[in-house]
Amino acid sequence: MQKIDLVDRDLFNPGHAACPGCQESLALRAILNTIGPDAAAVFPPSCGAVICGPHPYSSLQIPVFQTSLESAAAAASGLRRALNQRGKHDTTVVCFAGDGGTYDIGFQALSSAVERNENILYVCFDNEGYMNTGAQKSSSTPLHASTASTPGGKPSKKKDIIGILAAHGIPYVATAATGHMNDLIAKVEKSLTIEGTRFLAVLVPCLDGWGLPDDSGVSVSRLAVDSGMWPLYEVEQGHRYTLNHDNKTRPVADYLSLQKRYRHLDETQLAEVQAAVDQDWAQLRRRAAESTEARASG
């Protein structure tokens, strides 16, 4: 059995306010301890901002700046420049934003930061909805998932944020999941060796919002990967695709059937989700294969 390759340096404190079994706090623990103490974080409003701790307490052992929902990437850009002014080029500036604050409300700030290639690490904790305000839909909510604002299921597909960022030519963009800890840790480590904007989307199953038992976050995130709903891959320089888990072994039903947000799904809708996943998976594999060929031919 492979051990988790993490040295916990106590950079994330206990006593934080995340729900029992929260995958966002689990991911935060791994990422903070991989980056190390020489870092500063930016949080827009989100579950993460709550987990940071109620004033006057903090759950992070690094400095945190809480900004507005629109402006995570802009605030991080400013922080980066301020630190550079003080000669702290090596201090990592990391954004921890939700999917609402990334795909939707903070998107223009993110797009322009990537366009400027700001030297920041942007982590999106993707729980597929506006969760801390009561589980409303975001543009990251997948097809047919029910939310407080789409009780009958969301009629549109999840936005392809990775494709959008790749189209910016971003140096490094990748997906990760808490059930694949070593992959997540390796991606954080890799991102630390790269200059410019780096973006990591981490799937964090929301136990309450998705309707899951408290102990299931890790295993459900693995089902997301195994079903192809959340493929693990990375894109370098906007075009070099690598699939990190080239193994779609399960039907999406295995993943969806565990979650209350899909309880209303009928056969047709299930088939639609499966078809969409199959199509995206085929495209991803094609891109990964093309990248391998391109690399081989130099």
Partner: protein
């Protein structure tokens, strides 16, 4: 954080907030018994020694094994391995090849010449053991390790009991048996071979020793009512095997009919095949009901033994030329609730005949408990602690039980040694049963991807019938390591850190020798329990 509170900066730590109050159930690290351990007649901490083997600590694995069983190389060859039947991994793909792993470790110990640690104390009490089979050797070993002076009285010229005089060398090679017995005697056990203990000698032993353990086995062959044992063509199976195991070749005539469906019948039949005889086994049971281990039956058939199953001998006609006609009938065999109990129903009109030159009834062995206060019963009666009705007399193995397995005899010896130790030195702590075994459901199989069982090689049939070389071959070191890697380590912490690192609340702390729950922070989500690959941490209701 001690800095003064700032209106602008949050410089305190959330560690002052005790989220443990949210909890309604609490994880607890607690090693639990594995089902294989529960099923093992010697209670052999299987998950632990397989883990040591997997970690490359073969010596450590052997030391764990011999805590319970001084015969890992013997058991690794001929144990009926109920551990494998109970193995949790069977529910995923195939049971762990526990028995062959045990052999691999035992054989390594013989090859390396590993010795037992000297007893750390010496006690003044002396114990007499009557019978040097697996039960007697096991009790002697366990008592000597606990510091007692031990003398074994054995009527045969060499120790081993049925391991030597019953089980043939193609299943258990002599050097293996000799190696494990010699090492055991090196602990300082006195062996007096060639001494048969009768009722008078028994009385002298009781007077001269602090305790006596009776392990005389069950040596008398059971009689078959349909034939007269005095006829020259009737061969006693125990005597036959004792002679062949010692290298002899009894005169039997060419066509040998073996009667019985157990290990002894298979051993007689396969031995006779090795002497070039034409062999037929006549069994009451249908092939799949036969009490012999399945692989023994399969191997016997491969070696050319003919099986007539579900049939019974009714009478024998002797012809002038010395040949025999066996009058048989088909029967329906219905096993009873106890091992060895059954009912049979002859099938009317199904009579048939077999021809042969010799008949070897191998239908089981009877104990002779009379000299040891046993009266006329078939067994020497013992209580839960293997104490007989006589003061300071204990008993175990075939003389006291119908189990009739080698490891059962070894386990009885071990348990009796613990009981004798407690009786001789009342301070000795009692062994407590650790509770229920870890169920398959407690194992997170994500960490154990499907992987085929590593099978050991078997000697080709043509070579087998040419002599008495071992049929079942060993796993090599690499194969043993791969097989050990398949074990779930049910209920035994492997220090993988999953519980520690998957906790979103930093509520599991890592200690030098394990883990602890920081109950002031644990919210009771159960993630640590769910992501444990071994079931060594459990959720308990309450705070």
């Amino acid at each position: 954080m001690t800095a003064a509170t700032s209106p602008l900066w949050s410089n305190g730590s959330t560690a002052v907030i005790h989220t443990g109050t949210w909890r309604s159930a609490t994880p607890t690290h607690n090693d639990l018994p594995s089902p294989c351990h529960q099923a093992c007649p010697v209670g052999g901490q299987i998950a632990r020694w397989i883990g040591q083997l997997r970690d490359g600590d073969v010596l450590g694995a052997w030391l764990t094994l011999v805590e319970h069983n001084p015969f890992p190389s013997v058991a690794g060859r001929i144990c009926h391995h109920p551990c494998e039947t109970a193995c949790n991994r069977e529910a995923l793909d195939e049971a762990i090849s526990i028995c062959r792993l045990e052999r691999a470790i035992g054989d390594r110990a013989i090859a390396e010449g590993w010795r037992y640690p000297e007893p750390t104390i010496n006690r003044s009490q002396r114990i007499a053991v009557i019978g040097g089979g697996p039960a007697g050797l096991s009790v002697a070993y366990q008592l000597r390790r606990r510091g007692y002076g031990v003398t074994i009285f054995e009527s045969q010229p060499a120790l081993g009991g049925l391991l030597r005089y019953g089980i043939p060398p193609y299943r258990l090679a002599d050097d293996v048996l000799d190696g494990e017995i010699a090492r055991l005697l090196d602990l300082g056990i006195e062996a007096r071979t060639g001494e048969t203990i009768d009722a008078d000698a028994f009385a002298r032993l009781r007077a001269g020793y602090d305790a006596v353990y009776v392990a005389t086995g069950a040596a008398k062959s059971k009689r078959l009512p349909s034939i007269d044992p005095a006829r020259p063509w009737v061969i006693d199976s125990a005597a036959y095997l004792a002679e062949t195991n010692a290298g002899g070749q009894p005169r039997t005539g060419h066509r040998v009919i073996v009667i019985g469906g157990g290990s002894a019948a298979m051993d007689v039949a396969r031995t006779a095949r090795r002497h070039g005889r034409d062999v037929t086994v006549l069994a009451l049971e249908k092939e799949t009901q036969m009490p012999a281990q399945r692989e023994e039956v399969v191997e016997a058939l491969e070696e050319g033994v003919q099986l007539v199953d579900g049939a019974m001998l009714q009478s024998v006609t002797e012809h002038d030329n010395g040949s025999l006609t066996l009058h048989c009938i088909r029967v329906d065999f219905v096993p009873g609730s106890m091992r060895g109990e059954f009912t049979i129903e002859p099938v009317a009109g199904s009579e048939f005949e077999l021809s042969g030159d010799a008949v070897v009834p191998s239908i089981g062995q009877q104990a002779d408990p009379a000299p040891f206060g046993g009266g006329d019963g078939p067994l020497l009666g013992v209580d839960d602690a293997f104490r007989t009705g006589l003061d300071n007399v204990w008993a175990g193995g075939d003389v006291a039980s119908m189990e009739r397995f080698v490891t059962a005899a070894i386990g009885m010896g071990k348990d009796a040694a613990e009981a004798i130790d407690r009786a001789m030195n009342p301070g000795t702590a009692a062994i407590v049963d650790a509770g229920d075994a870890v169920p398959y459901a407690a194992i997170n199989t994500y960490y154990h991807p499907p992987l085929a069982r590593t099978e050991a090689a078997v000697r080709p049939v043509a070579e087998r019938v040419m002599g008495f070389d071992e049929v079942q071959l060993a796993l090599d070191a690499e194969a043993a390591l791969a097989e050990a890697g398949r074990c779930f380590s049910c209920g035994t912490c492997i220090y993988c850190d999953n519980c520690y690192l998957f906790c979103p609340d930093m509520a599991v702390s890592r200690l030098p020798d394990g883990y602890a729950i920081r109950t002031e922070y644990c919210k009771g989500c159960g993630l640590c329990v769910r992501e444990c690959p071994t079931g060594a941490i459990q959720m308990r209701a309450g705070k």
